[in-house]
Symmetry: C2
Subunit: 402 residues, 2 copies
């Protein structure tokens, strides 16, 4: 169990304060679990109050004792109810803010209404993008945790090789592999920021099930076991000579890494082997291009162009018309952080310290999917790979009886 | 894989339409996964548009083919982007609504802003409570699915007896038991409605770890393995003569049931045995009192009073000051549905078809927790039990070496 050091928390608050001052925002109130964890080291129920100048306060409803253990912040303040907040601020010599930021991208409407009632003279504005921009650039402390996650990702991948057997279902393999990951330290919960986005731990698909699109904004979706979930491993039995996708998100000490490998039992058709080699090429192109200052959308465009030149226009990142318009996604506390290596959503440039998963994949309906995914971090010199399992399309032996 | 019958979907839409008309609301637009699943049978990305009179439409961004397979509704309409919605409505002869409802309790602020821009002449109002009230009353179709979940809950509980061993950690047992549940059909994902509320699958705690409070609005929290999650099974090793809580939520075909049992390895101190017997008494009192027409808060008050008379005031539903002010929670597609058997939040009365988990528990800091939980449904005559595992405080034999 790792406790976020105070130096980290202070540094993070300073970065956000700088952005608040640039936008003439007097203070920000953050309440969502991932943001609380990032700025306080804890997700005990409460709110993080950061004035544009001065020290942050962590007001806690429940559990107060735990918040004091988990958060290194100086000011961990018990709060009986939200209505006491303005009084507590005034009592501490903090003026009520004229303009205050909140996370409009995740905050439910009723919650905003409560804060409006509480602070009637305050203009509440959206700081989601500021918060996400600060969080996108990881410290070396955060990178170290993600490296630990990458170690676990490799053990999980090696274990997958032991579990894949002709006749077993994708769902059974998933249950066994996830159990292994939990025992090795996986935290269980995986967080996504986007509204309605849900993720269990990742995906295991064999053959045609790898080509079933879903509601999720991802190249692969999967049938799942019920329309109530509508994604993920289903009850398809694994067969020989079909591509098997192991797309596993490791969540460890609050941080995620994402890694995908393709395997098969017995040889695959040449078409799939060539497509897999092409995806490695796309990854190589990303590796050559990515550097601080490059825009997220340009990186996307260049890699997308190459995939089209290779003849994958109709099958890259999903099969037409169910394609997604990204190849990579920022990753850290959440699966869907900045940067988006995408066709121009919230476009910015790569900065040293940003971390992202890059996942070139091709999808053939009725056949399956092949592809690769690693988690990377941006340095002054270019990108470095965090996840490191070997990248061969791994071929397991055919069972003796086949 | 179960597909929701059209008769169910039509019946559900009629109930909501009745409530819309009572409140002079012309239409409702629902977008959250649980509500989409309830009203369309699918959670493909899109929106459910229900005029106060006439037939519902399911507009789908992604994946459109899947939505047509999964939803029995007549009108499953592909939509390229949200901006096309008003035109599509008009094209189908539907007037743009003057007053339209949305789910303000879960809808992020930015999403509401998008709809306001899209429908500038429409007054958007909160229909969360109407939707939750409709969803609270289950049909016999829904009850049957929950009965299937209860079968699985019993198998999981029986398996827990095989996995609990002195020296194994709570987290290890959790990993093994969850894997078992997944293989038996558990869907993996568990949904909570409340902002920031997260649930992995439930909780397994031995001894003192059962008494660690957390941010979660629940009587037991647990240390977990990282402050980033801040709840759940931790790395405590199971010992003899301490209470072991197995609180497992089954999610099956979209519906949840919740069951808790207390076990031990070797005998427990008399104080804990007496407390457990008291919790069975509280459950019996609930069983005697609960009937259609009784208010949720009265049921809570009566049971809470009895717990206080028994001397548990400081330890019932958490240890003071970390107690929660409820004993039961509605359950269905989400863990935190109506009714709340609580001290007066959104108070209403019990109605036939409502389903809830009732979980009297006592918590002793440094020692652990004991208690019981079952899922119930309200009938004309009173409540019936859905989960049915035997209710003895189960004592496993001491290992030979102890």
């Amino acid at each position: 169990m790792r406790i976020t050091p105070l130096t980290e928390l202070i540094d993070r608050s300073h970065k956000l304060q700088e952005k608040l001052r640039e936008q003439d925002i007097d203070a920000t109130i953050l309440v969502q679990n991932s943001d609380l964890f990032y700025f306080t080291g804890s997700i005990q129920r409460g709110l993080y109050y950061l004035p544009a100048e001065g020290e942050p306060l962590y007001f806690v409803f429940r559990d107060q004792g735990r918040a004091r253990m988990e958060s290194g912040l100086f000011h961990v303040v018990p709060l009986d109810r939200l209505g006491s907040l303005p009084g507590e601020l005034v009592r501490r010599g903090l003026p009520l803010p004229q303009r205050a930021g909140m996370e409009f991208d995740v905050l439910p409407v009723v919650e905003l209404q409560r804060y409006k009632k509480l602070l009637p003279a305050t203009e509440l504005v959206d700081v989601s993008s500021l918060v996400r921009t600060v969080r996108a650039v990881k410290s070396s402390y955060e990178i170290e945790i993600m490296k630990d996650g990458a170690l676990l990702a490799d053990r999980v991948y090696e274990q997958a090789k032991n579990l894949l057997v002709v006749g077993k279902t994708d769902h059974e393999v998933m249950a066994e592999l996830f159990s292994f990951a939990l025992k090795e330290g996986h935290q269980g919960l995986i967080r996504m920021r986007r509204f309605n986005a849900e993720m269990f731990f990742g995906h295991i698909f064999s053959g045609a099930d790898g080509a079933v699109p879903a509601h999720l904004d991802a190249p692969l979706g999967g049938l799942g076991t019920t329309p109530a979930v509508g994604q993920g491993a289903g009850h398809k039995k694994i067969a020989a000579h079909e591509p098997i996708i192991v797309d596993f998100i490791i969540a460890y000490d609050g941080y995620l890494v994402d890694q995908t490998r393709t395997l098969s039992i017995g040889p695959l058709p040449d078409k799939l082997l060539r497509a897999y080699a092409d995806m490695l090429e796309i990854q190589k192109l990303m590796f050559e291009l990515a550097r601080p200052g490059l825009s997220w959308s340009e990186l996307y465009q260049r890699c997308h162009e190459r995939a089209c030149e290779m003849g994958h226009e109709q099958h890259f990142m999903g099969s037409s018309p169910s394609q997604v318009r990204f190849i990579g996604h920022g990753i850290g506390i959440e699966v869907d952080e900045y940067p988006f290596i995408a066709a121009g959503f919230d476009d910015q440039v790569l900065l040293p310290g940003m971390t992202f998963a890059f996942e070139p994949k091709v999808v053939f309906p009725g056949v399956g999917a092949v592809g690769i995914e690693n988690t990377w971090w941006v340095t002054q010199e270019g990108v470095k790979r965090l996840t490191y399992s070997h990248e061969d399309l791994w071929q397991l032996p055919l069972p003796a009886s086949t």
